[in-house]
C-alpha cells in the first residue's frame, strides 16, 4: 500500500552545507512522499540553515543533539546525514535509540550501499543505508550494466568534479571517497576488483561533472562487434534508468570496446589470486549536468548524490511497511 496523497513522511537533514541544502530543495520541489521536518547544522551562520528558517522549517545549529531536542523530532521518520564520514559515525550512534531510518550521504558506509538504478529494493528495510559517493552514484550503474553482460575482472572509475562544487566535507574525505567507491564497485557493481579516482578541477567557468568508467572484461567467444553491441545496449538502457531520476545524466561518447594489447600488464590490476586474463577493455564516457537546485548546473556531483538519496527515501516512505506506521 502506498501512502495516501495527503500523508507524507517527515524528514530531517543533518548537514547544512552544499549537499544538505540541495537535498532540502529537492524534498520541497520534487519528492512525492516526503516533506521537510528539520534542518540541522553546526554553523549558526550557514546559508543552508538560513534558507531552512526562511522556508519556515525547524532548524538548529546544535548538531544531532539539537535535532533530538527539537519538539518536531518525534514526527521525523527519515534522517538524511550529509555531514562527513567521521560525523556520521557519531550521529548514527546518537540516533540509534530512536528507531529512525538513516540515509547516509557520507562515505562512512555503516549500512549497506545503495545505488538506486541497481539495487534500490535490496535494502529497503535496513535501518541505515549508505549512498556511496557522488562518483559512485554516477559510475557504478555502468559497471553493473557491463557486468550483467560479461564477467568484469576489474572496474575503475575516474570522477572529475569542479573545485567549486567540492565543499570542505568532500575535501576532508578524499580517502573515504576512494575507499568507499572502490568497495561499492565490487559489492554493487559486480566487478571482482574496483578502483576509484577523484580529480578536482578549478577551471573557470566551472566544468560539468565528468565520469569515465573502465571495465576489463572477459568477452568469451563473442566477436568484437557482438561484444560491443551487447555492452552498448546494456549501458544505454542503464543510462536511461539513471536519467529517470537524474535528468542531466548522459552518455557523452559511444561506448568504446577494444582488445587489450598483449603487452599491457593488466595482471597487476586484478584481484589477488585472479589468474584469468581479461580480453577486452570497455570505456564509457559520462557527463552529469546538475538540476541547479542549489549550486549551478556544473555541480552534477551534488545533484546525482541528492537525487539518489531522495529516490531511496521516497521508496522507503512509500513501502507498505512504512505506510503502516
Amino acid at each position: 500500500m502506498a501512502l495516501s496523497p495527503t500523508r507524507k513522511a517527515k524528514v530531517a537533514i543533518i548537514g547544512s552545507g552544499n549537499i544538505g541544502t540541495d537535498l532540502m530543495i529537492k524534498v520541497m520541489r520534487t519528492s512525492q512522499h516526503l516533506e521537510m521536518g528539520a534542518m540541522v547544522g553546526i554553523d549558526p551562520d550557514s546559508d543552508g540553515l538560513a534558507r531552512a528558517r526562511k522556508f519556515g522549517f525547524a532548524a538548529t545549529s546544535d548538531g544531532v543533539e539539537g535535532l533530538i531536542a527539537l519538539p518536531e523530532f518525534d514526527d521525523i521518520e527519515i534522517v538524511f546525514d550529509a555531514t562527513s564520514a567521521k560525523a556520521h559515525v557519531v550521529n548514527a550512534a546518537a540516533l540509534e535509540p530512536y528507531g529512525k531510518r538513516l540515509i547516509d550521504l557520507t562515505p562512512a558506509a555503516i549500512g549497506p550501499y545503495v545505488i538506486p538504478a541497481v539495487n534500490i529494493d535490496e535494502h529497503i528495510d535496513a535501518p541505515n543505508v549508505n549512498m556511496v559517493t557522488c562518483g559512485g552514484q554516477a559510475t557504478i550503474p555502468i559497471v553493473a550494466a557491463v557486468a550483467r553482460v560479461v564477467p568484469v575482472a576489474y572496474g575503475e572509475i575516474v570522477a572529475s568534479i569542479s573545485s567549486r562544487s567540492a565543499g570542505p566535507g568532500t575535501r576532508a574525505n578524499i580517502d573515504e571517497f576512494t575507499e568507499t567507491t572502490s568497495g561499492a564497485i565490487v559489492q554493487v557493481g559486480g566487478a571482482k576488483r574496483g578502483k576509484a579516482i577523484i580529480i578536482l578541477n578549478p577551471a573557470e567557468p566551472p566544468l560539468i561533472m565528468r565520469d569515465t568508467v573502465y571495465a576489463l572484461v572477459d568477452g568469451g567467444s563473442r566477436s568484437l562487434e557482438e561484444l560491443t553491441a551487447e555492452i552498448t545496449e546494456s549501458v544505454e538502457k542503464m543510462v536511461g534508468d539513471v536519467a529517470a531520476y537524474v535528468p542531466g545524466y548522459r552518455l557523452k561518447q559511444k561506448v568504446q570496446v577494444q582488445e587489450i594489447p598483449s603487452d599491457q600488464p593488466v595482471e597487476t590490476l586484478l584481484a589477488e589470486g585472479e589468474t584469468t586474463r581479461p580480453t577486452h577493455q570497455v570505456s564509457v564516457f559520462l557527463e552529469v549536468e546538475g538540476a541547479a537546485h542549489y549550486l549551478p548546473a556544473y555541480a552534477g556531483n551534488l545533484d546525482i548524490m541528492t537525487s539518489a538519496a531522495l529516490q531511496m527515501a521516497d521508496r522507503i516512505a512509500s513501502s507498505p511497511k512504512e505506510a503502516a506506521r
Binding site: 578549478p202 559511444k254 568504446q256 597487476t268 570505456s283
Partner: protein
Amino acid sequence: MSTPIYVQEVSLRDGMHAVRHRITPEDVKRIVIAADEAGVDAIEVAHGDGLTGGSVNYGPGSNSDWEWIEAAASVIKNARLTTLLLPGVGTIEDLRRAYDLGVRSVRVATHCTEADVSAQHIAAAREMGMDVSGFLMLNHMAPVEVVAQQAKLMESYGAHCVYITDSGGRLTMNDVRDRARAYRDVLNDETEIGIHAHENLSLSVANSVVAVENGVYRVDASLAGHGAGAGNCPIEAFIAVANLSDFKHNCDLFKLQDAADDIVRPLQDRPVRVDRETLTMGYAGVYSSFLRHAENASARYGVDTRDILMECGRRGLVGGQEDMIVDICLTKLAEREEAAS
C-alpha cells in the same frame, strides 16, 4: 659563499611515465645503487602517478609499487627513500604500507589550487615520523600569489618543504624566480622550498638554477632527464652547472653521467627529449604525463598528437584527467563526420 642544495633523484617515479610504468625490480635496483653511489640525497620510487597509481587510466605498472619499493629498499644505503602520494588516487593506507617497506619521506601532490585535500595525508605522514613535502602541481596554472597561499596551507598542515612543481614544463625563468620569492615571502624561515622542473621548453636546468639562486633548497633531477614529457631536469647537466655555480652538494658528476648513459637511457622505448610533441606540451601548458597517452590515442583514432595536446590545454585539464584524451579524440572525430556529411 657556496649555496647548499638537496638533490632528489626522480627517474624511478616521474621516469615511470617515460617507460609507461614498466620496469623490472632488477633495473630499479641497478638505478638505486648507481644514484646512491653517486651521492644523491634522496631517491623517489613509485608508479608515475604515485602510490597505487597503476590503473587503466594512467597505465598499469609492470609491477606493484610494493615490489619496486622493496627492490629499492634492499639496496639503498645512504640516500633517503622517498615516494609520492596523490590524494584522490592513493590513500593513507597505501602510505603506511610504503612506510613499512622502508620509505621515510613523501611528497603529497595536489593541483596547485587544491592544497586543502592534502591536509589528512600530510598530517598522517608527520604522525608516522616521515619527512613530508607538499607538491603543488601544474604550478603555472594559478597566479603567483595564489600558489604562495596554497604553499602556506601545506606548511600549516605540517609540510617540511613545499615545491614549485612545473608539471607542464611551462614556467620560464622569470616565472620561477617570482614563484620562489613569493613562496619565500610567505613561508616560515624553517620551511624549505623545492623545484620540480620539466624540460618541455628546454629550460629545466636553467629553471632549477634560477630557483636555487632565489632561495630554493631541494631540486628534483633525474638520470638522463628520465621523466614525463621531455623529461625532468637532467641530473648530470644540473650537477655540472651546480659545480660551476658553487652550489654545495654531494654528487659525483662522472658517476651520474655513467649511470645516465649506461643504465637509464637504454631503458627508454621512446626518446625522452624536446621534440614537436613534448615542446607542444610546454607551449600549451599540459601535464607532461599525458604524452604517451596522447600518442597512443593519436595512433588509435587518427587525430594529430599536437591537436590533442592543444585541446587539453584549452580545456584546462589538470593532472589525472588522462581519460579526457580519448574523449577529445572522439569529439574531434564526431566533428569531422559532421563536417563531412
